[in-house]
């Protein structure tokens, strides 16, 4: 047994490396599920930390810093890495050691960064990662010689297969002392000189050069083909959205049945009264209506995480660049925008990889137009209620309508970007430079951990913000109670009913009824709350005392078709999401942009819903 070391000081180790060096895979392999995802104070850069057990019995805090090409940042994301290394982040302890993660198949470019890191003088271990892919490509590397020439420990690793992890831990343990090293000083470095040195170093230690990524080039011949490429991209996106609906059907049924069974249990076990109503009509009807969409959200993220890991996402950005350039953006904006299909919050956070401030602001402002997963519950309920489940050719009509709604969001975003780039974010188009990494099989563990993180974040929201707003709405919709002998639905006498009635005239021209207006108010907290709010409103609205009907059946009897279509059109633009506005406030460091975002989205939503409603009326629907 090792002697107990000081338990008060846990050394801090950071993973640093170029984007696409396999840093996150290495982080996942080293920490497993013992990781904590948070934020750095003041900035919204994700702070991923975990516990790393060292072979000598000590344990270190391992931090996964954002990927960067050098210590000269070009984007806010890269600035975090520099600031963490130089100990400039408030509340962060200085680093005890750095693991420089190097892609063995791209030695010369990654070694340049290692040389830059070495000059800092901090304890440094080089993880020569993806050594198996180098071997596959016929690239031979004499890692012992590389270590000798660099005068640094070099450990061969294959993060996705957990190879080399123990050796890496041992090398780290040998370099971490009992007292933290002095903070490094920032010194200007000559990139070209380092680059030249790295090229010579790589040439010396490479025993064979191999065929440079022959595999990736063969795949790219199809994926980036002028005709096949765009068709494949369209097919991938179309398949993704169809899958979101069809694969999720069964698990959603199970969740619905589970919630219904729980409601029946409670109804049987508890006496009739406000407490039962709170649990059944408030908590279970409200939270249940949101949790039921967990399968769809997980499927969407499964696609996004997998596409990112394989390297396809940057190909999509390449294909989309021309289109994005026409509206004044660049291909890089495609990745945050695609992430916004899951949720605008991580999407807006992902804009930190965009180096031009104007492009970044434009991307942030249009990100909420991408149909986020919070809108899926709304779309799903309304489509389920009003669009017949029949087939049009090989596709389901419901899926096609959903696809059209996604398309409407994308077109809206392109128009908005075009208009913004000519007005509020006017300025020169910045240069577009993007590394296109080699293709890789997605690692099950990395996809799994990514999905686990998304699922817990979603359930946390359901358990906190959505639960709280559901209870508040239930209370507002239940009190004051109707007088004895009242003949109208109980909700008409409640506070929520009165607010709805007051606002109704403003929304009547676009076909919204009082129940919709009531549901939109708590929907400010999060878009999907609108569904739980409708669930609560209609559950309490039910005068027939027949609580058996699902929300879909209730809507079908309560809304005319033009209202349903107008509601869908509203949600293409729907400005209401506190989290998005809050993240915009943080990322742009002013109230100006969130207020601007809310106003323009509100106006667009109102106009779109109005046009849809009146067109539908005119068409006799």
């Amino acid at each position: 047994m090792n002697a107990p070391v000081s338990i008060t000081r846990q050394p801090v180790v950071a993973l640093v490396g170029n984007p696409n060096a396999g840093k996150t895979s290495l982080f996942n392999a080293l920490t497993g599920s013992r990781q904590k995802v948070g934020n750095y104070p003041g900035v919204t850069v994700e702070r991923k930390a975990g516990r790393l057990a060292l072979p000598d019995g000590r344990s270190a805090e391992l931090i996964d810093l954002p990927g960067t090409y050098s210590l000269t940042p070009r984007s806010p994301d890269e600035a975090v890495t520099r600031d963490a290394i130089f100990g400039r982040i408030a509340g962060e302890r200085p680093l005890d050691a750095i693991v420089a993660v190097v892609d063995a198949t791209n030695l010369r470019n990654h070694l340049r960064f290692v040389l830059e890191l070495k000059a800092l003088g901090l304890p440094l271990v080089v993880a020569l990662n993806m050594i198996d892919l180098a071997t596959r490509d016929g690239i031979g590397i004499d890692s012992a010689r590389l270590g000798a020439l660099l005068d640094l420990p070099v450990v061969e690793t294959v993060a996705v297969r957990r190879r080399g992890l123990e050796a890496l831990g041992a090398a780290l343990a040998a370099r971490i002392g009992d007292t933290p090293p002095a903070l490094p000083q920032e010194r200007p470095s000559d990139v070209r000189a380092l680059q030249k040195q790295a090229r010579q170093l790589a040439a010396t230690v490479q025993t064979s050069t191999g065929s440079a990524k022959a595999w990736s080039q063969r795949i790219d011949a199809v994926v980036l083909h002028p005709l096949a490429g765009p068709l494949l991209l369209a097919a991938v996106l179309f398949f993704m959205f169809q899958a979101v609906f069809s694969w999720a059907e069964a698990p959603m049924g199970w969740i619905e049945a589970g919630v219904a069974a729980l409601q029946a249990e409670l109804a049987a076990a508890l006496p009739e009264g406000w407490f039962l109503s709170l649990l059944n009509d408030g908590v279970l009807a409200g939270v249940g209506a949101v949790v039921v969409f967990l399968p769809q959200i997980l499927i969407l993220f499964l696609f996004i995480i997998t596409l990112e890991q394989t390297g396809y996402m940057t190909r999509a950005a390449f294909l989309m660049d021309r289109l994005m350039a026409r509206v004044g953006l660049n291909g890089r904006a495609f990745i945050p925008l695609l992430s916004s299909f899951a949720c605008a919050v991580p999407g807006i956070m992902a804009t930190r990889t965009i180096d031009s401030p104007r492009d970044r602001l434009t991307t942030i402002l249009i990100a909420p137009l991408m149909t986020c997963s919070a809108r899926l519950p709304v779309y799903a309920v309304v489509i389920g209620a009003f669009i017949p489940a029949r087939d049009v050719g090989p596709f389901g009509l419901q899926g096609l309508v959903l696809f059209a709604l996604y398309l409407a969001g994308i077109l809206g975003a392109l128009v908005a970007a075009f208009a913004l780039r000519r007005t509020v974010t006017k300025g020169a188009a910045p240069p577009f430079l993007m590394e296109m990494p080699k293709y890789q099989w997605p690692a099950l563990r990395d996809v799994g951990l990514g999905l686990y993180g998304r699922a817990t974040a979603f359930l946390q929201r359901a358990g906190t913000i959505i639960l709280a707003s559901t209870i508040v709405l239930w209370a507002m919709a239940s009190w004051p109670q109707p007088p004895v002998g009242a003949n109208k639905p109980a909700i008409d006498y409640s506070l929520a009913g009165k607010i709805g009635a007051a606002l109704e005239p403003a929304f009547a021209p676009i076909g919204f009824n009082k129940e919709i207006v009531i549901a939109l108010v708590p929907g400010m907290a999060a878009r999907e709350v609108a569904v739980s709010a409708l669930g609560t409103v209609y559950a309490l609205n039910d005068v027939s005392e027949d609580n058996a009907g699902s929300l879909i059946e209730r809507l079908r009897s309560a809304w005319p078709l033009p209202t349903a279509l107008a509601f869908l059109a509203w949600f293409v633009f729907a400005p209401q999401c506190i989290s998005t506005l809050a993240i915009t406030r943080r990322e742009t460091a002013s109230w100006r942009w969130p207020i601007f975002m809310f106003s323009y989205l509100f106006a667009a939503a109102y106009v779109a819903a109005g046009i849809t409603y009146h067109l539908a009326l005119a068409a006799g629907l």
């Binding site: 000269t72 470019n109 390449f318 240069p431």
Partner: protein, 84 residues
């Protein structure tokens, strides 16, 4: 930096043609972009090859530089010259 009339911009290369970088017009770029270009491996004497031109007008380009593939637009590609 010597810019000979014999040099061609990489934009003029055919897909699949390999050439060595002769000169980079760093003055035509902002310092940050010039540095990032270097960090991505663009430097005098390094081998480059155009792998793909994007659909809808051939812009941007996918360029192999050393062992790395980088996407860049044609206006920047014109600032990078290769030996004939």
């Amino acid at each position: 930096m010597t810019t000979s009339a014999l040099h061609r911009p990489i934009d003029a290369l055919a897909v699949g043609e390999v050439a060595l970088i002769a000169a980079i017009d760093r003055a035509g770029l902002d310092p940050g972009t010039a540095q990032r270009l270097c960090e991505l491996g663009f430097d005098e004497g390094v081998d480059v090859e155009i792998l793909h031109r994007a659909p809808f007008g051939g812009d941007p380009l996918a360029v192999r530089v050393g062992n790395m593939v980088v996407a860049l637009r044609r206006d920047m590609a014109r600032l990078i010259e290769v030996e004939p």
